[in-house]
Symmetry: C2
């Protein structure tokens, strides 16, 4: 492609701005396209019927003719478009008709002339466009043309600028992707030409933020290329103030001090049972936090055995984190003192701010935070846990099962559910963080911290909105290459989005945009709260698979069928069983066991059959993951099965072989204990479910693919 | 419409049969359409170029012309179709061209002439067709025309004959349904004309089973009607033997004796621990079965205190049910004795039949069963439980929690999962039945029994195939009007279907057909094993809603958003909150609580706020169901919340007010006990999940709508 001619585009946009217009004329649009190597049809501007017929004759018939007027945006409505003009005479007539129609439609319209354009046909009509989203900024869009596609909403988005790889993933990312590959004898389109077009559009809108909307509609895609038949460009010259965002190294430095503080102050610490300032103190002390604790309370000398101070400024030691447990109206003055003391972060438990109809009070805190460079967590939160430091900076009950999952929630209720589920499932966590009103610290700040935190292997987040989707996506794209990032985005549906709006005042996000941007960034999207929790629990437990070949080994044929269904639902590939491997499995199973994959060892087999087949599955290099279906029998009771599987895994691990294994247990209640045993030994296992183990494995695969590991 | 002219169709089909053809010519197709009031374009047969131009001139241009030859099915391929013929001269030329092409394509073809047909355009192109499915028989299909629809597989099926209501539901049942309603200024199509066309096609193929396939493609649907531009009819005159199926009253009489036996024989009863015949005896005795038990064993006089017999024929009493616990090869002779003894049913626990590569052995049993009119359950099953009779006719562990859900499974493993889950969740059941190889008794026999069984309120079934989908659907359609029928159809996906095939030798069903027929019959489809189990547990607990208005009352705003998402996912309508009702709720909640629906009572509220808002929700007639979101706080602990909700429900119940209530509990592990308490008191409640309670409510709504109750 030609080098982009930015100067040319700048000239055109400047002219549009000077003229006070909000959109470009078709000829201007064409010039912009030309400057960015976006192919458009031959065309020219006619100012008389004679010019029209001459122009048309030079480019060849048929042509399409369109009114050119800055005052007429909806040309078809105005009777300003005539298609299929077949000869010079028709072209002259069409010119007169279009001009007359335009005058009727809007007598005051400034009519520049009539555009005569080479008429494209054949191939597949597609749409390439760009929009500006409040949270994610510039997005490029791709879909097929036509009304049906509009009805089906079969369109896909990526953040701009999009890479060539992003562009190809868009071509494959629509439901009707097959249409581009040639169906019913039609030829496949030139994918590279389409991908280039997408990339160029995405670069154009990124280079010129004043382009707020762009439509190439239709684009004719054929086997030889892709040409945009029509371009519509809308501009907005109003400068938006960029969102405040500290540099990443500053974010990290603050977050490290906040999450791993050497000393912590409790503003509003109390000796009185039932007070939040009392619960926080107790959790810090009983949780086993080893740093210094400074209770701040102007009316006390000593709280729970710790010397109390009137103000953080009276403490001689440095303080990293201040946990607030005072009424809303007392927060601002105390926060100023924290700022003066150069405390890194304030954990703002109190409510009574934006969520209670007091946005100004919250704005005041934000201003203080900026001024003193003190980061704010909350307000309106339960606080946070960071288990590697035995730190429970919260009024909720303590939690101490250490592990490698870091969780966060926008909502306090969901945070409580995280704690309850974790305790019930004995899920090890590195951190649980409440973000509440997100006046300052949000999901991307947490990602930046957890990215470099060796205690964290997986990050799972619940959110209702992303205040700065662009910032989040940029960080997530990088972090997800190293550690799985799992997100439950609430307010997915219009009803849900409405509730989100009334809850936090957040703008309802367009869910399809979230969906596609998450995909672009390698973020695993959880579809439900339970899924978020199960993924958070299971994904870090599983080793990373080395390839796509999944094999099911099952004692219950019925489980095998359901597990296979789940594999398809979760985009897992059931390996086509090679003959030699099939024969090798058959040696261990009864003659009527089913061939292929699932390997149906049949019910009533002894423990050795489970063990031998699992060992074979682990040993053979062609197999990358195992899904086990256990059937409760007297011959192989649940705990015997569980122990034998762990043994088999350990034997192979000793030889340096590690593969993901998940298990579904069908049987009486004893299978629950067996599933728990398996889980605690690194094998995600579920009783009475053929879908959950496969979903967890599917999440691991989704991450590994996104991170380029398989 | 005109009365159907069956005689005419019979004549045509007879002629086709005599000619040994497998398809109808276009003129024959048109005559069949005419006979059934299926609108087709004006047309005629030309045998010369002159006739062609005359004919075309009388019907008006443009016309389409097509070769008529029984030997040329793919007319376009043969160059036998010319569209857009514009005048008399073109028509004459087209005639010659088509004849010449046909001769080139197949010199031996018997060419009847050229069909001249009025050319339709405008409106929406749709496809109406019919196919013959191995399990469901005749099905009528509907979709939009065009390649894109093929790619998206956007087509819907119903069993033929389809009612007018079925037909309308098909128009609404495609993804692109909006296209029929008029988009982008196009006019809506004549829905009644389309529905009539669907009904007529469905009647035609039902009246004439030899029509194996029929395609009206395309049908042009406009605002004024619907005309089939092309018809293709394929016939198959080979008579299929109808599947053996006893009359319903016979089925019921047998099933009543089998499921509620006055006396039961155990073939192969044993005193030896660990034998299946010993487990069955113990389960019968310890389960508390009150009828007579007759152990059959030629080598024993007494088994576990019961007199043993050499044969069932030695028992003087009548016997209803015989449970088999002998090796496969001993089943047939014992079954003959059972037949001679006029036993109603044999519960065939033994394996070693079709599932083990011995289909002939199974066929032998089927033959004996037919001859002696003894119904067979299995073989290759765990047996069955019928709790109202304290009957555990199984070798598995006993289960005695009585309730109103009847479950069945095709697979033994899934049956064990049902038992384990039931015990763990304390789910009350009326029956659990294993169907295994389904040599005889299958899902529809069970439906017929459970339909009239007052102990059963909900029927939940796992199946991998339906041997006779048509029979099942007919019964299910009736039963589902009275009691919810929930089905987990395994082998949904192609990978799953493959496993189903290797497991039971069942033909892989086309999943879309299952999906649509279930919809047609009011069957609730579970998407996963856990969903089947949760629906089985929750649906009978809930009262039937009286309308669509659902209100969410939540202490956690975050739960409210997720619950709203789930409502949309599960097709529940969040009620638009009327102003007066909004004001009434606001009286109970803090000023910053969110307006509308969800009602966000905010965290930190006392029990009275939960109770007052729930009472209001139950009292107001405009609200039909409540979804509660609880947030664990010290002020309203989990069990306090649970008890207060049950109290509120009981107070209203005493006044004759009953509405479905479900609850989602977010909090620490104590919420698990509270959820269990709520569930046991008739309020399906889940800890750490915002989706499960809504799914259960959604299933209840789906049933109530299908049964015409709301």
């Amino acid at each position: 492609m030609n080098k982009q001619d930015k100067t040319k585009v700048r000239e055109i946009l400047d002219a549009v701005k000077s003229a006070g217009r909000q959109s470009l004329t078709a000829p201007e649009g064409k010039q912009v396209c030309d400057a960015y190597g976006i192919a458009v049809p031959q065309e020219g501007l006619a100012k008389s019927s004679k010019e029209a017929s001459n122009l048309a004759s030079t480019m060849g018939f048929p042509v399409v003719m369109k009114i050119v007027s800055p005052d007429i945006l909806h040309k078809t409505e105005a009777g300003g478009v005539i298609v299929g003009v077949k000869n010079a005479g028709e072209a002259a007539d069409a010119y007169e008709t279009i001009i007359a129609n335009a005058k009727t439609y809007n007598p005051d319209a400034n009519v520049v002339g009539v555009q005569v354009q080479q008429m494209l046909k054949g191939g597949q009509e597609v749409i390439i466009g760009a929009v500006t989203d409040g949270s994610f900024g510039k997005l490029v869009a791709f879909g097929l043309g036509g009304v049906l596609v509009e009805v089906l909403k079969d369109i896909t988005f990526r953040m701009a600028p999009a890479s060539k790889e992003d562009a190809y993933s868009m071509l494959d990312g629509i439901q009707a992707a097959e249409m581009l590959k040639g169906v019913r004898g039609s030829e496949p389109v030139d994918r590279e030409a389409l991908a280039n077009l997408i990339v160029r559009v995405s670069e154009l809108v990124s280079d010129f933020p004043e382009i707020s909307e762009l439509d190439l509609n239709p684009v004719f895609a054929t086997k030889d290329g892709a040409i945009a038949a029509d371009v519509r460009i809308v501009v907005d010259f109003e400068q938006k103030a960029p969102r405040y965002r500290p540099a990443e190294d500053q974010v990290l430095a603050s977050m490290q001090r906040i999450m791993q503080p050497k000393s912590i102050a409790v503003i509003g610490a109390s000796s009185e049972d039932g007070k939040i300032g009392n619960s926080v103190m107790k959790n810090l002390i009983n949780g086993g936090y080893k740093g210094n604790i400074y209770p701040i309370n102007p009316k006390a000398d000593n709280i729970l055995g710790y010397k109390a101070y009137k103000s953080v400024k009276d403490v001689s030691d440095d303080i990293d984190t201040a946990v607030f447990a005072v009424p809303a109206k007392l927060v601002a003055p105390a926060l100023i003192e924290c700022g003066e003391k150069r405390i890194a972060g304030a954990v703002l438990i109190p409510s009574g701010f934006a969520e209670s109809g007091e946005p100004e009070m919250q704005e005041e805190l934000v201003k203080i935070g900026r001024e003193y460079k003190i980061r704010l967590m909350g307000p309106n939160i339960y606080g946070f846990y960071y288990t590697p430091a035995n730190l429970c900076a919260t009024f909720c009950t303590a939690y101490d099962v250490k592990g490698s999952t870091a969780l966060s929630s926008q909502s306090g209720g969901i945070g409580m559910a995280i704690i309850g589920f974790s305790r019930s499932a004995k899920m090890g966590v590195s951190a649980i963080v409440g973000l509440g009103n997100k006046s300052d610290i949000d999901e991307d700040d947490l990602l930046i911290f957890f990215e470099q935190d060796d205690n964290t292997k997986v990050i799972a987040q619940h959110c209702e909105d992303l205040k700065d989707g662009r910032a989040y996506a940029e960080v997530a794209r990088r972090v997800s290459k190293k550690k799985p990032v799992i997100v439950l985005k609430a307010g997915r549906t219009s009803a849900g989005a409405k509730a989100a709006s009334s809850h936090t005042g957040a703008l309802a996000g367009n869910d399809k945009i979230y969906e596609d941007v998450f995909k672009q960034c390698g973020v695993i999207r959880a579809r439900s709260l339970r899924e978020l929790l199960e993924f958070a629990r299971g994904v870090p437990v599983l080793p990373t698979p080395k390839g796509e070949n999944v094999v099911i080994i099952t004692g219950a044929g019925g489980s095998g069928v359901l597990l296979s269904d789940s594999c398809v639902d979760n985009k897992l590939s059931l390996m086509a069983m090679p003959e030699d491997l099939d024969a090798a499995f058959r040696k261990f199973i009864p003659p009527f066991g089913a061939a292929g994959n699932p390997v149906d060892i049949t019910g009533g087999e002894p423990p050795s059959t489970y063990k031998n087949t699992v060992l074979l599955g682990l040993q053979d290099d062609r197999i990358h993951s195992l899904i086990l279906g256990y059937w409760h029998t007297i011959i192989t009771p649940p705990m015997v099965f569980a122990k034998i599987i762990v043994e088999a895994r350990d034997e192979m691990r000793a030889k340096g072989i590690e593969k993901p294994i998940v298990a579904s247990l069908a049987g009486d209640v004893q299978v629950e204990e067996a599933a728990q045993y398996l889980y605690e030994h690194g094998i995600p296992a579920y009783a009475y479910s053929t879908e959950l183990p496969v979903q967890v494995l599917g999440a691991k695969y989704q991450w590994a693919r996104g991170a380029g590991l398989i």
